[in-house]
């Protein structure tokens, strides 16, 4: 029913999508699989009218269409759920649903809308309260609202951009059930993902993209995970990084009864205590938004705690400014990579040495910077961390997500830190970059650093962590050993089911 023919789209310096053709049949779940930067999202943004293709054409039911805006796409029966939700927090679900639709009118009458939302919710198993204000919803519920918004418009094509990235396992299952029901109702779904397990569960057909090119379109039944992985990265995957056991040493990072507020002044971290020893990785599992950000920022010194203490190497640093903490050997890989970890318009080199004034890893006088020293050192870091960049003077924003993260890793880990806080360090990264992150974090562990890993992806935690604690609603709800047999248990604890964990 939908055909995209020879679509190409370039951004300055990159061919994001290069003559890709894509056919969507009615009533199928068609996965776009690929590493980050492969062009999946760009291709779908073209279909949804956010970008306009440089060349190529789009046909719906055999007719040529030009899609000039998301509004226009909706008129053609195409809807898309972006990775970042677009709900107005103070509006109700019903109001959000009709937002931007003509029928809203001057005086919105939401009674009819609410009935329709309930109907749709019942039909597809996407239950939400149409009267609830959007800010009160959980992430999973918000996503349901985004999907309902699209179904409400009567769309026959639904695009989901990495929908499971923010979900816990049982929410993912619920989403997949809903998708199956939509299929039965002849709705087509484009599912963007790079998680092979899920792709194999839900798809009918799979198109693999790599570096803007369509590698192949295959039937799910006719393929395997390994084959897909190979198509995706163009080489065999390193399936398992061997976990090295390191003799743990003294207590390096210690947090006692920490209580922290979020930006709105609500309690985000509620009485958390833990210790990380030298050579140990403590994983904190949790769905995003359960206090991880505030916890990490507080330990690093960007957020003042209301209560509690933070120690590094036995020294109380609760009131120490960031600069001092950096000098004491604390490193932080923030989850908000582009918003916090780097300055997009500064060069790779400037980003690599943004903390040099404190660490003096290349000695440099404040009144006369050591230019040659810094550029020699940055060339070495670019090489050591295999950062792909035209030059170390390139602006950081032109790098891909994986390479930006490598810049962050290079800065944070090259100074031989005593303790490392890694918040969602692989989020949004492709498999190759992920491997790199795992490898470097494990190297830190070998060197005797205490690593605090905050993550939502259980595979990642199982692979890296020596112990896993679960955070929910700002509290540590329990510990579990990083073992695949604990997957369901940890998942339940992450979703707030009480009494699921061992107290430790």
């Amino acid at each position: 029913m939908l055909e995209m023919k020879d679509i190409a789209k370039s951004f300055p310096g990159v061919k994001a999508v290069d003559d890709v053709s894509f056919v969507l049949k009615s009533g199928e779940v068609h996965t776009l699989l690929g590493e980050n930067g492969a062009g999946k999202t760009t291709l779908m943004n073209i279909l949804f009218g956010i970008y306009r293709q440089d060349s190529g054409e789009i046909l719906i039911d055999g007719k040529h269409v030009k899609i000039s805006s998301p509004h226009n796409a909706i008129a053609h029966g195409i809807g898309m759920v972006q990775q970042h939700f677009t709900l107005v927090p103070s509006f109700t679900v019903a109001e959000n649903t009709v937002l931007g639709l003509r029928e809203l009118g001057v005086f919105p009458r939401t009674g009819r809308v609410e009935r329709r939302i309930r109907e749709l919710g019942d039909t597809y198993g996407l239950k939400v309260d149409p009267d609830a204000r959007a800010w009160t919803l959980s992430v999973g519920e918000k996503q349901r609202v985004e999907i309902l918004k699209i179904l409400y418009t009567g769309a026959k094509i639904l695009i989901l951009d990495e929908p499971t990235a923010v979900l816990v396992p049982h929410e993912t299952r619920a989403l997949f059930d809903a998708l199956r029901k939509m299929k039965e109702a002849d709705t087509s779904v484009v599912f963007i993902s790079h998680k092979l397990d899920e792709v194999m569960q839900i798809s009918d057909r799979i198109t693999v993209l790599r570096k803007g090119l369509a590698v192949d379109t295959v039937d799910k039944k006719a393929t395997t995970k390994a084959a897909l992985a190979k198509m995706m990265v163009g080489r065999d995957l390193l399936v398992d990084v061997p976990r090295t056991d390191v003799e743990t040493g003294s207590k390096i990072l210690e947090v006692k009864n920490l209580r922290v507020n979020d930006d709105r002044g609500l309690t985000a971290v509620n009485d958390i205590s833990f210790t990380v020893r030298a050579g140990e990785v403590l994983g904190i599992a949790g769905v995003e938004g359960n206090g991880q950000r505030e916890l990490a920022e507080c330990i690093y010194g960007m957020r003042k705690p209301l209560n509690g203490k933070v120690f590094i190497d036995g020294q109380d640093i609760t009131r120490t400014p960031v600069r001092k903490r950096v000098q004491l050997g604390l490193s932080f890989i923030p989850q908000d990579r582009k918003g916090m970890a780097i300055s997009p318009n500064l060069s790779v080199e400037e980003n690599l040495f943004a903390k040099n004034y404190a660490t003096q890893s290349v000695p440099s006088h404040p009144l006369l910077s050591n230019r040659t020293g810094v550029s020699t050192a940055s060339r070495k870091l670019v090489r050591d961390f295999s950062i792909v960049t035209p030059s170390e003077k390139t602006r950081a924003k032109y790098l891909s997500g994986g390479n930006i993260q490598k810049v962050v890793l290079a800065r944070e880990l090259s100074s031989s830190p005593k303790a490392v806080i890694a918040a969602q360090p692989t989020r949004g990264l492709d498999v190759g970059a992920m491997e790199f992150v795992y490898k470097t974090l494990l190297e830190q562990k070998k060197k005797g650093a205490a690593v605090l890993l905050l993550a939502g992806d259980l595979d990642e935690l199982f692979r890296l962590a020596d112990r896993v604690a679960v955070i929910y609603g700002g509290k540590l709800v329990g510990y579990a050993s990083p073992d695949s047999s604990n997957r369901e248990k940890i998942g339940l604890m992450m979703s707030g089911a009480s009494g699921a964990g061992d107290e430790a």
Binding site: P344, S364, P366
Partner: protein, 350 residues
């Protein structure tokens, strides 16, 4: 792009001027040729004639001073709109020093140091007020600096119309002239005030600060991504305060230099909006010190050229302001448009 913008402004202004030059009984050709002639004069005097160029340089000095000061703040995304007020406070403090505090001093060097420092200190105070309010109470610096402009301007008005009015000034709102020791020497056979040297030295110094010092790197970090700066451990409050302090001090010093080097007395409205024009200059110079000086020369020339229009072509001051407005408007508009890509579609091609 800037060239196109200026051409656009000249074109639109040409329409105004042609209308202005139209006389009954004479054709439009006459008006057009007068317009072209006026444009020729407007460009050739400030840039094509040595004495005209000296005037351009003199006009450029206060513009460049304030512009350089503003750069310091703008590079950190602190929106100091208070250049005008800081300039006035500098001029006020300089006059206070030259006429009342140190008027017995005989040494021109000592006098210059003291008076310029006074100007810098008072300009800095005018920057410190919004800085402290921003750093500790999160007030908006745009509003505070803008309002402080009026305080400074009216404060100077109060003084020159009242307490400081020169008894020998025939009732004009002027202070007495500065003593000889409080006048700065002039260069180029006395045609240009020495402030030019200060501006160039200052620009080179700031260029060095931005390129080679830790201050420059941190301010770039703050300006590009304040979250990243906090994350890198930069003390934002301290930098906010220092930036506005330095910004105000430079504008204040500019006011003092303008008094000592050119005007030699305080009078109301001594600045035809230098502090506001400097905002545009700072941006057009891409917040780059050397760039600011270059753009300031162009704007100085514009001011001089406009005076020519007024003097020799009897163009009313209102039209001169229209022209300045057009130039700013088209330069800013050009900047904005150049960020978009314009594409044409065939009809029905949607």
């Amino acid at each position: 792009m800037p060239v196109l913008s200026i051409l656009f402004a000249l074109f639109v202004m040409g329409i105004f001027l042609t209308v202005f030059f139209m006389e009954p009984g004479r054709g439009i050709r006459f008006a057009l040729s007068r317009t072209l002639e006026a444009y020729g004069e407007m460009l050739s005097w400030p840039f094509g004639n040595l004495y005209g160029f000296y005037e351009t340089l003199n006009k450029m000095i206060p513009l460049a001073f304030v512009g350089l000061g503003l750069c310091i703040a703008y590079r950190m995304r602190i929106w100091n709109i208070g250049g005008e007020g800081q300039l006035y406070m500098g001029a006020f403090a300089a006059t206070w020093g030259a006429l009342f505090l140190f008027n017995d001093l005989q040494s021109p060097l000592l006098m210059a140091c003291l008076v310029i420092s006074m100007g810098a200190v008072f300009g800095a105070i005018w920057g410190l007020i919004p800085a402290v309010m921003k750093a500790f109470a999160k007030t908006d610096e745009i509003v505070v600096t803008l309002m402080l402009n009026y305080v400074a301007i009216f404060w100077v008005d109060y003084l020159v119309y009242g307490r400081w009015r020169d008894p020998a000034g025939f009732g004009f709102p002027l202070t007495a002239e500065y003593p000889a020791a409080a006048r700065l020497p002039r260069i180029f056979d006395g045609n240009v005030q020495i402030g030019l040297v200060f501006v160039v030295v200052l620009a080179v110094f700031l260029e060095y600060v931005y390129r080679r010092t830790s201050w420059g790197q941190k301010s770039a970090l703050i300006g590009d991504n304040i979250q990243a700066a906090i994350y890198a451990g930069v003390n934002i409050k301290l930098f906010t305060i220092l930036a506005l302090l330095a910004s105000g001090a430079i504008a204040g010093a500019g006011g003092a230099v303008q008094m000592m080097g050119a005007q030699h007395r305080l009078q109301p409205g001594f600045s035809p909006g230098y502090g506001y024009t400097a905002i545009i200059i700072a941006w057009l110079g891409k917040l780059n010190p050397i760039g600011v000086v270059v753009v300031a020369i162009l704007f100085g020339g514009l001011l001089v050229g406009n005076e020519q229009l007024q003097m020799f072509y009897r163009v009313p001051i209102a039209l001169v302001y229209v022209f300045q407005g057009l130039v700013l408007f088209s330069l800013l508009g050009g900047e904005a448009i150049s960020r978009y890509r314009i594409r044409f579609h065939k009809r029905g091609d949607e």
